[in-house]
Symmetry: none
């Protein structure tokens, strides 16, 4: 039930934290660890803190970019300590766990950022949901392994609970993955620049972020992307925009 | 509400774990740390892992025996990884949190044992309740700071929940209403017919239904509608469609 969940650590600085994450994951029945540009890995410190979960470290995938790590992911959730100005759909650990466990067929990634600075705004905008662990607002920075422990704990509890009353929900359609969402967003922006709705200099990042949010929230399926890109291609054609092959609706 | 709760570490070996416990506590609004015969304390390792929660370490009480540490405690709960042969009343972290938060007047201690061996049977028998964190039975030994993090997290959530009317996040934006959604959908269809993506006769109702679903699922706010209709108006203008006043983006 938890096999489609990848815990994704972005640019982790201290290898000890990677080991502690592996231990927290194995304690809660998670096995898929991804590392995006870790500063030091593999490492003896990581092994020491894994304390019996070295198999998780041996099987961890290291990615050279977040794009690579998300390419095949269909549900993307990012942990964030701060509450953002542009409200992004936000989940508590428990809500996150229920959502993830309710959709076991989706290839899911849960992102945890750098020790000091977390995930960047750009990285958070790749997410369908933000995950916020309610805590003391005067001291809100959890250690990354502690944050993973809380989320993994809730995932395990949710899996336990749904084991007792679960006819597995069958989804008929396949969700778009991270790569398809990115291509769509690029195509959308290109079209909006092309028709003059957006202007390279004048348009505010907030507007662009909002557009991204509208479609991220919608939980687009592959067929939806196909339709939306068909619309964009038609607009480009009708307004005389040059169509590059990659933007076509294929 | 959480002030009467003492986290009590028994015979901890690694000072780094004590620091990590302090951080986990402060993150979740706990302040009272007790240490029964710690192997090494105070320590630079503890300070380093506390990462901003050194005040918890400075104020920690060190006890020479469990008796001393429990002398004034009215409710005693002991964390245990194993399920015991002699059944003791047992709580999940959530049940424990609800119980503790429901009795804020009781001086409470929650005990966490040694890294390798946990609490002895004798120590567990001092407890009113045992606390067991459900986890992967094939790898059930949580790091002590990770265990404290889970329990502290549940305590904080229970305290939040019992703080009856304090919603953490206030949604500042107003959702679009049914009328606005309908006008948007009409505007969308008109535009898609205008650019020839839809054809009065040929387009299937399924396609139109899908388009509606994409935007309905997204939970659009008034501002989102405003932006989307701005895009539609721009497309109509660029493709020479006649703009009726009702379709404008106002």
């Amino acid at each position: 039930m938890l096999t489609n969940i990848r815990i994704l650590l972005v640019a982790t600085t201290h290898p000890g934290n990677i080991g502690a994450v592996a231990r927290a994951m194995k304690n809660m029945g998670l096995t898929d660890l991804g590392l995006v540009t870790p500063k030091i890995f593999p490492s003896d410190d990581a092994d020491a803190r894994a304390a019996g979960a070295e198999d998780i470290l041996r099987n961890a995938q290291v990615f050279e970019s977040l794009d690579d790590a998300l390419a095949d992911r269909q549900l993307i959730i990012g942990a964030s300590a701060r509450l953002r100005r542009v409200a992004w759909p936000q989940l508590t650990p428990k809500q996150c766990a229920v959502k993830v466990v309710d959709t076991p067929h989706l290839k899911t990634a849960i992102l945890f950022g750098r020790e000091r600075t977390g995930l960047s705004n750009e990285e958070l905008e790749r997410c369908h949901y933000l995950l916020h662990i309610p805590c003391n607002q005067a001291f809100s920075s959890l250690n990354v392994a502690a944050a993973v422990q809380v989320v993994a704990y809730e995932l395990f509890q949710a899996a336990l609970a749904s084991d007792s009353n679960s006819p597995e929900s069958v989804s008929d359609e396949e969700m778009a993955n991270g790569e398809e969402m990115e291509s769509f967003h690029e195509h959308l922006l290109e079209t909006l620049y092309g028709i003059g709705f957006l202007h390279e200099r004048k348009s505010s990042p907030t507007l662009i972020r909002r557009l991204r949010r509208i479609f991220n929230r919608s939980g687009l399926e592959k067929t939806d992307i196909h339709i939306l890109r068909g619309i964009l291609a038609t607009i480009q054609k009708k307004t005389g925009q040059h169509l590059t092959p990659s933007n076509g609706c294929d």
